[in-house]
Structures are given as structure tokens and as C-alpha cells.
Amino acid sequence: MTCHDARERFTDLLDDVLDAPARADLAAHLAGCGECRAELERLRQTVSLLHGLEPPRAPAGFVERVMAGTSPRALDPASRARSATRPRPLERAPRRRFFLRLPVDVPAGVAAFLLLAVGVGFLVTRVPELEDARRVASAPGSAPREEAYSPPTASERTAASSAPGRADGERDTVVSERDVRARALADRAPSVPADTIAAAQAPAPPSAPAPPPAIATAPETPPQTALKGSRDEARALSKSSAARASETPARTARVERGLPSAITAQLRVADRDTAPATVINLVNRARGVVVGSSADGDDRILELMIPRAELPRLLEGLRSVGALSADVPADLPPDVHLVLRIGA
């Protein structure tokens, strides 16, 4: 063994990662070479100095600053979908200053619905015609409620009961106020057929999946829309429900989970042994990072984080390595999380 060969193994020796035969060879060389022994001792002292170096400490208030930049709501899976497309709290702050801040967070849809309910209640008590309608509807001995006007449908009740943060009694009140108001205005405006109101208030077609609760916190059909009595609006509304219902399941799932979600991709290569190293080089060149690596049978799974701007370049590089299949959505977060399976 030459001195050069021996010195190349010093780091392995100090870190105790040298196998037994190599260690024996090195020991034999050191026994007869004073220069290498001195060199090893200096390297040992260097490493010792490194280990003794006082570690820097994060400045005071660091944790608070990180937590301030991380909205607590963003960690709540139910609210991720709502907050995913919002700017960060820091950017929202100036706008918030102009509004009353409540001690609890109230979803905007629920708040709007409650305000509307209060407004309807106020109108019912203040507008003589509406008040009359209410009296007729609730007077003892009058026609049964079912005959006075159409009762809320089961789906309407379901929609009302799914609104969070409200007591059961309150839900019923809100629904009946809505019906009273609809009925009274329908009576006053005979040109608006009752079926239009019903159509506008009807929920999405039964075939349409219910929208995620995290998003649909407000009733799909605001009462005031129905009260305008416009067939066009009713049609537009149903179109919009249909459009929501036709969103792809993947897109819905992504919104439910909250961005950023992982993109999965599969790379089929001729040589599974060398491909991961090539891929890692491509990731490095794309300013990405490998955050996890595992094996699944003969396949290798790399978990990557890539800046959005670099993703096309990476995908192009991957295509030059093998057959790539990846479903890349249009709306990507700034840091794209990619789970890549490399197989034959």
C-alpha cells in the first residue's frame, strides 16, 4: 500500500466504516510509516476540532416568526382546500384591518347565510305583506302548512342541517323563513311561476356528487336568486351546479386534500440499476431535492420536490431516460411534490 492509498482511507478509518481487511492493510502501513501516522494524527485533530465547534443557535423569536408565517388553519385538513388558493396571512393583513375581527373563525358562506337569515327575519317583521303571509302560514286553524305552500324538500333540509355551527332549531327557522319569503313574494308576483322558484331552489341533480363540505359551506342556491324569479338565472344556476359536478374526481380530491398534492409518475427504464442515479442528477440540475427514497419490489420510488418552473425541464430529462407516464395538472403549487416510480 502506498502513502497515497493509505491517506485516502483515513476518513473511513476515523469514521469506523473501513472493513476488516482494509483496516488490517492500513494498520500494517501505518506501523512502518511515521509520516502517515503524523498525517493521520493531524486529521484526527481536525475532526476533533470540528466536533467541538459550538453550534450556532437560531435567533430569539425564530419559532414565533415561523409560526406567524404558517397559518394555523393551513394545518387543518378541512380548511386547506379553502386556504390553498388564498394569499398568505401576511399578504392578507392589510385587507383584514378594515373588517371586524371575530374571536372565532366563521366560514364566509356561513356568515353570509346567517346575515341573510337575519335580514329576512327583519323584512318579515317590517314589511306588512310579508308579515301577513307569515301570520297566514302560522295561524291556528288555517290551512295546514303543506297546503299553504310547498314544504322544504328533504334535500333542502339536508343542506340546511349540513351548515356548520348552527343549532337544529335555528336551522328550521332559517328554512321556514326562506319558504315564507318565497311564498309571499310568489303571491305578490304572479308573473313568476312557482316552478321557477322551485327550480332555482332545487339542489344539484341526484346524479351529481355533493360538493366537498370544506368548500360548500353556503347553500348552493341563495334565496335572493330565486326571489328574482328569472328563468335565465335558474338555468344559469343549474348549469353552474352541473359544471361543478362535472369536475374530475382527481381535481376534486386534490382540492379536498389541499394543495400541494403529490404528482405520481412512472418511469420505465431498460436498466433499473443505473437509472436512479441518472434521475437524481436530473433532479439536482432542476434545482430539486430528493426527500425520500424507497424500494417496492424491484422498483425504486423517489420522492422529489421540484420548483414548479423547473418541472418541464425535469420531465423532458426523464423522457430521455425512459418511458415516462405522468399526469401533470395545470394548477401546480410553487413546490411540486413528485413521487416517481422507476421500474422496468
Partner: protein, 182 residues
């Protein structure tokens, strides 16, 4: 993945804010330390360290847990530091080592402390002068105590590359510090 990490990750994924705060509290010094050693500038190190946790926060839901949480954080920190150092604007700056030198020189120097302080200053400067790809390896290995395998995972390089870069880095440091050795 350690059982503690798994339990922690479960809480983090469940949206436990306290768990995330614990994560930041537990790793703040280590992540900041890597950033400062790599960048040599306190303000920039804090900026990068904050970004590490914000990125971790954004991608926690998708973290598969194949690596340890700490390795994952080191991976993000390493990549962000190397990306920052690779920036053309960053390369033009020349005042970046000032904070590192001050860092090793912030206490009183009575007696034997003087020599220690000089040694630490020289060592910090020598680390800062290492090529970036070697510097990150020596920081992760000798200052943060990661294993070769963890460094390989964090940096996405082969084990042999880790060994080779670490050895070169240590030999570079040795040659710059020889005056302190008896």
C-alpha cells in the same frame, strides 16, 4: 423511520399546530446552523431556515415518511442553501463570511480562551472557504452528526460520493489549520 417520528408525523398530518411548533422548536437550531454554516450570513440564514419550515409545512401532507423527519428537513435545508449559493447574484457578494467570523468571536477572551477563539475563527473561515458541495457534506457529517446514509439521502448522491467529498473537505481543513496543531 423512528416510532417517535411516526407518531409525530401522524399528529402533524392531523393538523396539530402544537406538533408543528414542536417540530420547529426541536429543529430550529440545527436547520439554522446548517444555513449559517453554508451561507455565512445571519439574515440570509434565518430567511432560508424559515423557508425550510414553511416548505416542510406545505408538503407535510405528502411526506411519505420513508426518511426520518430530521433527514427530510436537512434535505430541504441543504437544497435551499445550495440553490441560493448557486444564484448568480449571491456569487457576486463578498461580505458573506463576516457573520461567521463574528460568530466565533462574540465572547470575552481571557487567557486560554483567546487561542480557542482564534482556532474557531480559523476553522469557521476554513469551512466557509470549502467548495459548496464539500462544505455541505462536512457540515452535515461533522457538525450535525448525520450518518453517511442519511447524507446520501438528504443530498441525493451516492454513498461513495459522500465519502469522497467528506475526505476531501477534511483534508482541506487540515491543511488550513495545521498551525494550530502541535
Amino acid at each position: 423511520m423512528a416510532a417517535d417520528d411516526a407518531a409525530w408525523l401522524t399528529r402533524l398530518r392531523a393538523g396539530d399546530v402544537a406538533a408543528f411548533e414542536e417540530l420547529v422548536t426541536a429543529y430550529q437550531h440545527r436547520v439554522y446552523g446548517v444555513a449559517l454554516r453554508m451561507l455565512g450570513n445571519r439574515a440570509e440564514a434565518e430567511e432560508i431556515a424559515q423557508e425550510v419550515f414553511l416548505r416542510a409545512h406545505r408538503t407535510l401532507a405528502d411526506f411519505r415518511g420513508d426518511a426520518k423527519l430530521s433527514t427530510w428537513l436537512y434535505a430541504i435545508a441543504s437544497r435551499l442553501c445550495l440553490t441560493r449559493l448557486a444564484g448568480a447574484e449571491r456569487r457576486l457578494r463578498r461580505a458573506d463570511r463576516v457573520d461567521l467570523e463574528r460568530m466565533a468571536d462574540t465572547r470575552e477572551h481571557p487567557g486560554a480562551e483567546i487561542e480557542r477563539s482564534e482556532r474557531e475563527t480559523a476553522l469557521s473561515r476554513a469551512i466557509a472557504e470549502l467548495p459548496e458541495d464539500r462544505r455541505i457534506v462536512v457540515v452535515l457529517r461533522d457538525l450535525e452528526g448525520l450518518s453517511y446514509e442519511e447524507i446520501s439521502t438528504a443530498l441525493g448522491v451516492e454513498l461513495g460520493t459522500v465519502r469522497s467529498r467528506l475526505h476531501r473537505a477534511r483534508m482541506d481543513l487540515k491543511s488550513k489549520l495545521e498551525r494550530f496543531f502541535a
